[in-house]
Symmetry: C2
Subunit: 367 residues, 2 copies
């Protein structure tokens, strides 16, 4: 009758105590008090978390499925993560592995406003993989960042994003940076059909981000980058809902390594709240995600589910031009490849290095 | 010349690679690109993170001190945590252990507006420990929660907080709950000098929280609870700064997934951003914090530092009345004791159980 959401936890535990451990989590994530002290019938039958299944995954790892009343979440994304993992995040032996939401809750959150096909359409690339490059390092003044943007654009890059460290610092204020970068991009005759799109990174509180979006819109920008784990789920979702023309790329900063499974957090949940694309550390780069995690993450971002638009996976974190073929073999072409440091190392050859990266992506024939 | 902040990491690492690992973190948390590709003198000398010290803590654990330019943070708390731990949070072998901020940055963030002495003054308790009890379980309608509040107040409790699972659910909307609870408290003749203070829990995005604060103020409330890890540091700080009369109790929900040392995150950083009190899981309860961690956390919340007002430690998470003496011996009286389930288990004896808890706290003679 009342819809429930399913939270799936992975728990390291002595087999003899897994049942009581699972029950304790079901209580912690719902009523957070001794059941014997609860009289209310509705609370007992609906609100208390229910252990639905316990599976032994061997070697001391258990998969526990707990259902929670959807009413406990209401329509608030912050309350969603609070119900799923709030206090249990304080337990070191538990990973939030996956979540299944009732259809109406998925509909409430709504997912990407634009997604893969719109991000492709905006750069005139209906089928191939997309390309992206970052403006960095932080510390450079707006004019220097604008020069980098020029070279990336001349090389034919689709999306040029701020590094996630670029905020509203005195040496490169947000407004001056957006102005300089977008002005520089307007002077470029792009090698392809469409001009490169500037993707400024937002920072600060919700009001500050709103002001930044207004500034960016005035400069002709229609896509921005945000950090959902820093701004908070509720504020991320609000910003998405009140800016219908803006696409959002989500960055994984502060997403932690392992306590919430990356495919769930970065793939499923960021998409659910409205990420049109999601940056994540590709395997074999500077971070420790395995190929299996990366594949599962990309699938969670793209999968046909709950009538949500697909969110573009953006594997990154130390990628190089010579991995383009391998990455496209791995991810297919429903992907945005992001290369930063390896292009910037070309220095005065930045435009040519970028053009070579772009050519490799454009020339790739997907099997 | 330029002020720098110090980030102290604990890293599990092969001794032979700790130097390169430390240097990689210094780069990741600042310019995030190969140093050889950076020409700019200011970036090279100031913006690139610097490994200041590496100490072998034995058994494969190293303490690494990295300094970062304060200019990279600007005045934004979200950018502070982004600079301290953003991408490095994605590495499983690193814990953010401590942070030292330049004085002006601490002044910018400003810390608690009220703190220990004001929270004591508001309930007419200038020297003793404070008492707190939670309204739960979620799922109860406002009238039932108001009845619980009545019993707690009749028992003499200082602060009555919403459980952190109470949001704006259909079965107990925020507005109706605040109205019912505050109305109930107004009917009580308190056993002590002052009436119990209602502490509603805020949820949702920044605007929703602002509306909730306005509602709460109208009902005579001047203290609320928030979850900084769910609302985001920048939004927490903004709410504190724009509501000068409101005190804030910070809840630790979602604080565990990020691998930031609890004394730093819950003690130092929550206080820095304006928490007047901080709830945390006491040792020997439902969570795994050790006595040492709890002691360090309480010290970080209270310590005389950076001219910040003291933030009241609120040990909780499965506490019972028979631990009052032991907890006060451990924490001293600059503390707020929070007991929930153990009181609610008394059911029709709730008022008497509460009175016994309160008497134990009031009767404690600190050595």
């Amino acid at each position: 009758m009342h819809p429930r959401l399913q939270a799936i936890y992975h728990i390291r535990c002595d087999p003899r105590s897994i049942e009581s451990r699972a029950q304790a989590i079901a209580v912690e994530q719902s009523v957070e008090m001794p059941l014997a002290a609860i009289d209310d019938d509705f609370v007992r039958s609906d609100i208390v978390g229910r252990v639905e299944a316990i599976a032994d995954k061997a070697n001391g790892l258990f998969e526990v499925r707990i259902s929670l009343a959807a009413e406990t979440v209401g329509q608030d994304p912050g309350q969603l993560i609070n119900m799923l993992f709030g206090n249990t995040s304080l337990h070191e032996d538990v990973v939030l592995h996956d979540v299944e939401l009732p259809e109406e809750l998925a509909k409430t959150f709504g997912g990407p406003r634009h997604g893969l096909s719109e991000l492709r359409r905006r750069v005139g690339a209906p089928v191939r993989a997309l390309t992206c490059a970052p403006l960095k390092p932080q510390g450079l003044p707006p004019a220097a960042l604008a020069n980098l943007a020029k070279s990336f654009a001349q090389g034919g890059i689709d999306y040029i994003k701020d590094d996630h460290g670029l905020a509203d610092q005195a040496y490169s204020p947000f407004a001056a940076r957006v102005e300089a970068v977008t002005a520089a991009l307007r002077t470029i005759e792009p090698p392809g059909a469409r001009a490169a799109q500037s993707v400024p990174s937002l920072s600060g509180d919700l009001d500050t981000m709103r002001a930044q979006i207004a500034l960016a819109k005035d400069a002709g920008v229609d896509i921005v980058m945000v950090a959902p784990m820093i701004m908070g789920f509720s504020n991320f979702h609000r910003l998405v809902r009140e800016n219908v023309s803006i696409a959002f790329i989500a960055h994984p900063t502060m997403a932690g390594a392992a306590r919430i499974a990356p495919p769930l957090l970065l793939g499923k949940l960021f998409r659910l709240l409205g990420a049109d694309a999601v940056v994540f550390p590709n395997h074999g780069g500077r971070f420790g995600y395995s190929p299996d995690i990366c594949r599962a993450l990309a699938r969670a971002a793209l999968a046909d589910r709950d009538a949500l638009r697909p969110c573009v996976p953006v594997p990154a974190g130390g990628m190089t031009g010579d991995r383009v073929r391998e990455m496209l073999d791995f991810y297919g072409t429903e992907v945005m490849l992001l290369i930063g440091g390896a292009l910037l190392e070309a220095r005065e050859g930045l435009r040519e290095a970028t053009a070579a990266f772009v050519a490799a992506v454009h020339g790739y024939a997907h099997r």
